[in-house]
Protein backbone atom coordinates (compact mmCIF):
# COMPACT_ATOMS: atom_id res chain seq x y z
CA UNK A 1 0.00 0.00 0.00
CA UNK A 2 1.18 3.51 -0.83
CA UNK A 3 2.08 5.92 1.93
CA UNK A 4 -0.50 8.63 2.60
CA UNK A 5 1.84 11.32 1.30
CA UNK A 6 1.93 9.56 -2.12
CA UNK A 7 -1.83 9.00 -2.45
CA UNK A 8 -4.00 10.94 -4.87
CA UNK A 9 -7.52 11.90 -3.84
CA UNK A 10 -9.13 8.68 -5.09
CA UNK A 11 -6.53 6.47 -3.39
CA UNK A 12 -6.90 8.35 -0.13
CA UNK A 13 -10.71 8.21 -0.37
CA UNK A 14 -10.48 4.44 -0.87
CA UNK A 15 -8.10 4.05 2.04
CA UNK A 16 -10.32 6.11 4.38
CA UNK A 17 -13.51 4.47 3.14
CA UNK A 18 -12.12 0.97 3.79
CA UNK A 19 -10.76 2.05 7.16
CA UNK A 20 -14.11 3.47 8.28
CA UNK A 21 -15.88 0.31 7.08
CA UNK A 22 -13.42 -1.83 9.06
CA UNK A 23 -14.47 0.14 12.14
CA UNK A 24 -18.14 -0.65 11.40
CA UNK A 25 -19.14 2.81 10.26
CA UNK A 26 -21.30 3.34 7.21
CA UNK A 27 -20.30 6.44 5.28
CA UNK A 28 -20.75 7.64 1.73
CA UNK A 29 -18.33 9.95 -0.03
CA UNK A 30 -20.09 13.02 -1.39
CA UNK A 31 -19.32 16.53 -2.67
CA UNK A 32 -16.47 17.84 -4.81
CA UNK A 33 -14.16 14.87 -4.29
CA UNK A 34 -16.63 12.68 -6.24
CA UNK A 35 -16.35 15.18 -9.10
CA UNK A 36 -12.54 14.91 -8.92
CA UNK A 37 -12.72 11.12 -9.05
CA UNK A 38 -15.28 10.89 -11.88
CA UNK A 39 -13.51 13.50 -14.02
CA UNK A 40 -9.98 12.23 -13.39
CA UNK A 41 -9.11 15.47 -11.59
CA UNK A 42 -10.34 17.91 -14.25
CA UNK A 43 -11.81 19.51 -11.17
CA UNK A 44 -9.47 19.37 -8.20
CA UNK A 45 -10.96 19.04 -4.74
CA UNK A 46 -9.08 18.66 -1.47
CA UNK A 47 -12.11 18.03 0.67
CA UNK A 48 -13.23 14.46 1.37
CA UNK A 49 -16.85 14.77 2.50
CA UNK A 50 -17.98 11.57 4.19
CA UNK A 51 -21.65 11.57 5.17
CA UNK A 52 -22.83 9.10 7.80
CA UNK A 53 -25.58 6.66 6.86
CA UNK A 54 -26.30 5.88 10.50
CA UNK A 55 -25.87 7.58 13.85
CA UNK A 56 -22.24 8.25 14.71
CA UNK A 57 -20.29 8.99 17.84
CA UNK A 58 -17.98 11.91 16.97
CA UNK A 59 -15.68 11.21 19.93
CA UNK A 60 -15.16 7.63 18.73
CA UNK A 61 -14.51 8.77 15.15
CA UNK A 62 -11.95 11.24 16.43
CA UNK A 63 -10.16 8.47 18.34
CA UNK A 64 -10.36 6.05 15.38
CA UNK A 65 -8.99 8.59 12.90
CA UNK A 66 -6.19 9.46 15.30
CA UNK A 67 -4.99 5.85 14.91
CA UNK A 68 -4.18 6.55 11.24
CA UNK A 69 -2.71 9.98 11.90
CA UNK A 70 -5.67 12.30 11.28
CA UNK A 71 -6.33 14.91 13.93
CA UNK A 72 -9.23 17.28 14.38
CA UNK A 73 -8.68 20.87 13.27
CA UNK A 74 -11.93 22.82 13.62
CA UNK A 75 -14.52 20.90 11.63
CA UNK A 76 -11.88 19.12 9.53
CA UNK A 77 -9.61 16.15 10.09
CA UNK A 78 -6.11 16.74 8.77
CA UNK A 79 -3.00 14.63 8.30
CA UNK A 80 0.52 16.08 8.35
CA UNK A 81 1.52 14.20 5.17
CA UNK A 82 -1.28 15.28 2.83
CA UNK A 83 -3.12 18.42 1.73
CA UNK A 84 -6.38 16.46 1.46
CA UNK A 85 -8.62 16.68 4.49
CA UNK A 86 -11.72 14.92 5.76
CA UNK A 87 -15.01 16.50 6.72
CA UNK A 88 -18.17 14.89 8.06
CA UNK A 89 -21.12 17.00 6.83
CA UNK A 90 -24.40 16.59 8.66
CA UNK A 91 -26.39 13.50 7.71
CA UNK A 92 -28.55 12.19 6.10
CA UNK A 93 -27.00 11.62 2.67
CA UNK A 94 -29.41 13.27 0.24
CA UNK A 95 -29.61 15.08 -3.06
CA UNK A 96 -32.15 17.83 -2.47
CA UNK A 97 -35.29 16.20 -1.14
CA UNK A 98 -34.32 12.74 -2.31
CA UNK A 99 -32.46 10.31 -0.04
CA UNK A 100 -29.41 8.55 -1.47
CA UNK A 101 -30.60 5.04 -2.25
CA UNK A 102 -27.66 3.57 -4.16
CA UNK A 103 -24.03 3.52 -3.12
CA UNK A 104 -21.40 3.12 -5.81
CA UNK A 105 -18.67 0.69 -4.72
CA UNK A 106 -15.88 2.19 -6.80
CA UNK A 107 -12.72 0.07 -6.97
CA UNK A 108 -9.40 1.83 -6.79
CA UNK A 109 -6.57 -0.71 -6.65
CA UNK A 110 -7.24 -2.95 -3.66
CA UNK A 111 -9.49 -0.37 -2.00
CA UNK A 112 -13.17 0.42 -2.44
CA UNK A 113 -14.69 3.88 -2.21
CA UNK A 114 -18.31 3.95 -1.10
CA UNK A 115 -19.46 7.01 -2.98
CA UNK A 116 -22.29 8.76 -4.82
CA UNK A 117 -23.16 7.25 -8.18
CA UNK A 118 -22.25 9.52 -11.12
CA UNK A 119 -25.97 10.37 -11.47
CA UNK A 120 -26.27 11.36 -7.80
CA UNK A 121 -23.00 13.28 -8.08
CA UNK A 122 -24.58 15.35 -10.88
CA UNK A 123 -27.68 15.91 -8.74
CA UNK A 124 -25.49 16.88 -5.78
CA UNK A 125 -23.70 19.55 -7.86
CA UNK A 126 -26.96 20.72 -9.40
CA UNK A 127 -28.41 21.27 -5.90
CA UNK A 128 -25.78 23.97 -5.34
CA UNK A 129 -26.66 25.53 -8.70
CA UNK A 130 -30.42 25.28 -8.08
CA UNK A 131 -30.43 26.65 -4.56
CA UNK A 132 -27.45 29.00 -4.43
CA UNK A 133 -27.00 29.78 -8.10
CA UNK A 134 -23.47 28.41 -7.85
CA UNK A 135 -22.07 28.47 -11.40
CA UNK A 136 -18.90 26.42 -10.67
CA UNK A 137 -21.16 23.64 -9.38
CA UNK A 138 -23.10 23.74 -12.66
CA UNK A 139 -19.84 23.34 -14.59
CA UNK A 140 -18.87 20.41 -12.36
CA UNK A 141 -22.24 18.72 -13.01
CA UNK A 142 -21.63 19.10 -16.76
CA UNK A 143 -18.09 17.67 -16.45
CA UNK A 144 -19.36 14.57 -14.66
CA UNK A 145 -22.23 14.13 -17.12
CA UNK A 146 -19.84 14.26 -20.09
CA UNK A 147 -17.07 12.13 -18.57
CA UNK A 148 -19.47 9.50 -17.24
CA UNK A 149 -21.64 9.55 -20.35
CA UNK A 150 -24.85 10.50 -18.56
CA UNK A 151 -27.47 12.42 -20.49
CA UNK A 152 -29.26 15.33 -18.76
CA UNK A 153 -32.59 13.50 -19.21
CA UNK A 154 -31.40 11.05 -16.54
CA UNK A 155 -31.89 13.73 -13.88
CA UNK A 156 -34.82 15.56 -15.46
CA UNK A 157 -37.55 13.96 -13.35
CA UNK A 158 -35.59 14.62 -10.16
CA UNK A 159 -35.07 18.29 -11.17
CA UNK A 160 -38.81 18.62 -11.81
CA UNK A 161 -39.56 17.22 -8.36
CA UNK A 162 -37.17 19.80 -6.91
CA UNK A 163 -39.22 22.45 -8.75
CA UNK A 164 -36.22 23.55 -10.83
CA UNK A 165 -37.23 23.00 -14.45
CA UNK A 166 -35.85 26.37 -15.61
CA UNK A 167 -32.42 25.73 -14.15
CA UNK A 168 -32.50 22.17 -15.47
CA UNK A 169 -33.00 23.65 -18.96
CA UNK A 170 -29.90 25.82 -18.44
CA UNK A 171 -27.96 22.69 -17.42
CA UNK A 172 -29.19 20.83 -20.52
CA UNK A 173 -28.34 23.72 -22.84
CA UNK A 174 -24.84 24.21 -21.42
CA UNK A 175 -24.25 20.45 -21.44
CA UNK A 176 -25.03 20.35 -25.18
CA UNK A 177 -22.72 23.29 -25.88
CA UNK A 178 -19.82 21.65 -24.00
CA UNK A 179 -20.52 18.20 -25.44
CA UNK A 180 -20.48 19.51 -29.01
CA UNK A 181 -17.51 21.84 -28.53
Amino acid sequence: MKKIKDMNIAELAGYISDYLESKNYSFILSGGSCVSIYTDNKYQSYDLDFIARNTIDHKKIEADLAEIGFSKDGKYYKHPDTDYFIEFPAPPPAVGNEPIRTVNHYKIGEATIRMLTPEDCIKDRLCAFFYWDDKPALQQAIMVAIDCNIKPEAVKEWAQKEGETEKFDIFKKEYKLKKNA
Binding site: K75, P89, P91, P92, N97, P99, Y131
Partner: protein
Protein backbone atom coordinates in the same frame (compact mmCIF):
# COMPACT_ATOMS: atom_id res chain seq x y z
CA UNK B 1 -44.14 26.71 20.96
CA UNK B 2 -41.65 24.13 19.69
CA UNK B 3 -39.47 23.86 22.79
CA UNK B 4 -40.38 20.16 22.90
CA UNK B 5 -38.61 19.66 19.59
CA UNK B 6 -35.82 22.22 19.82
CA UNK B 7 -35.16 21.50 23.52
CA UNK B 8 -35.26 25.20 24.37
CA UNK B 9 -36.97 28.40 23.33
CA UNK B 10 -33.84 30.28 22.24
CA UNK B 11 -33.30 28.15 19.16
CA UNK B 12 -36.99 28.45 18.33
CA UNK B 13 -36.77 32.25 18.52
CA UNK B 14 -33.67 32.35 16.34
CA UNK B 15 -35.25 30.11 13.70
CA UNK B 16 -38.45 32.19 13.78
CA UNK B 17 -36.34 35.29 13.24
CA UNK B 18 -34.54 33.86 10.21
CA UNK B 19 -37.81 32.46 8.89
CA UNK B 20 -39.36 35.93 8.94
CA UNK B 21 -36.37 38.00 7.84
CA UNK B 22 -34.24 35.76 5.68
CA UNK B 23 -30.45 35.93 5.95
CA UNK B 24 -29.58 37.45 9.32
CA UNK B 25 -26.46 38.15 11.33
CA UNK B 26 -25.85 37.22 14.97
CA UNK B 27 -25.58 40.75 16.36
CA UNK B 28 -28.90 41.74 14.78
CA UNK B 29 -30.67 38.66 16.15
CA UNK B 30 -29.16 39.21 19.57
CA UNK B 31 -30.24 42.88 19.77
CA UNK B 32 -33.76 42.42 18.48
CA UNK B 33 -34.59 39.33 20.48
CA UNK B 34 -32.80 40.52 23.64
CA UNK B 35 -30.60 37.43 23.72
CA UNK B 36 -26.94 37.37 24.57
CA UNK B 37 -24.64 37.30 21.57
CA UNK B 38 -22.91 34.24 23.03
CA UNK B 39 -26.19 32.30 23.14
CA UNK B 40 -27.16 33.35 19.63
CA UNK B 41 -23.78 32.37 18.20
CA UNK B 42 -23.85 29.06 20.05
CA UNK B 43 -27.25 28.10 18.63
CA UNK B 44 -26.41 29.33 15.13
CA UNK B 45 -23.25 27.22 15.17
CA UNK B 46 -25.15 24.14 16.35
CA UNK B 47 -27.80 24.63 13.66
CA UNK B 48 -25.11 24.99 11.03
CA UNK B 49 -23.34 21.83 12.20
CA UNK B 50 -26.54 19.84 11.96
CA UNK B 51 -27.22 21.13 8.44
CA UNK B 52 -30.34 23.18 9.29
CA UNK B 53 -28.66 26.52 8.55
CA UNK B 54 -25.83 27.66 6.32
CA UNK B 55 -23.75 30.80 6.58
CA UNK B 56 -22.02 33.10 4.12
CA UNK B 57 -19.65 36.01 4.63
CA UNK B 58 -20.93 39.27 3.19
CA UNK B 59 -18.19 41.82 3.65
CA UNK B 60 -17.18 41.31 7.25
CA UNK B 61 -20.58 40.06 8.35
CA UNK B 62 -21.55 36.39 8.57
CA UNK B 63 -25.15 35.89 7.50
CA UNK B 64 -27.14 32.80 8.45
CA UNK B 65 -30.04 31.39 6.50
CA UNK B 66 -31.97 28.15 6.09
CA UNK B 67 -30.06 25.48 4.23
CA UNK B 68 -32.12 24.79 1.12
CA UNK B 69 -30.14 21.58 0.64
CA UNK B 70 -31.19 20.24 4.04
CA UNK B 71 -33.50 17.35 3.07
CA UNK B 72 -36.10 18.35 5.68
CA UNK B 73 -35.91 22.07 4.93
CA UNK B 74 -39.39 22.34 3.38
CA UNK B 75 -41.01 20.39 6.20
CA UNK B 76 -39.11 22.31 8.89
CA UNK B 77 -40.11 25.64 7.33
CA UNK B 78 -43.74 24.55 7.14
CA UNK B 79 -43.64 23.48 10.80
CA UNK B 80 -42.01 26.74 11.89
CA UNK B 81 -44.43 28.77 9.80
CA UNK B 82 -47.37 27.03 11.42
CA UNK B 83 -45.93 27.44 14.91
CA UNK B 84 -45.26 31.12 14.19
CA UNK B 85 -48.86 31.65 13.14
CA UNK B 86 -49.95 30.57 16.63
CA UNK B 87 -48.02 33.40 18.29
CA UNK B 88 -50.00 36.42 19.53
CA UNK B 89 -49.80 39.38 17.08
CA UNK B 90 -47.84 41.46 19.58
CA UNK B 91 -45.16 38.79 19.79
CA UNK B 92 -45.08 38.30 16.02
CA UNK B 93 -44.29 42.00 15.52
CA UNK B 94 -41.15 41.58 17.58
CA UNK B 95 -39.68 39.50 14.75
CA UNK B 96 -40.36 41.87 11.88
CA UNK B 97 -37.28 43.82 10.81
CA UNK B 98 -37.02 46.47 8.10
CA UNK B 99 -35.39 44.94 5.02
CA UNK B 100 -36.18 47.61 2.40
CA UNK B 101 -33.36 49.97 1.39
CA UNK B 102 -32.54 53.10 3.35
CA UNK B 103 -30.53 55.98 1.86
CA UNK B 104 -27.41 56.96 3.80
CA UNK B 105 -28.07 59.83 6.20
CA UNK B 106 -31.86 59.55 5.95
CA UNK B 107 -33.74 60.34 9.17
CA UNK B 108 -35.44 57.34 10.81
Amino acid sequence: MLEGIFSNSIKEKILFFILQNGPSYPNEISKILYLTLFNVQKHLKQSEETGVLVSHLKGKVRLYEFNKRYPFNRELNALLQKAFSFLPDKEKEMYYVRRRPRKPGKEL
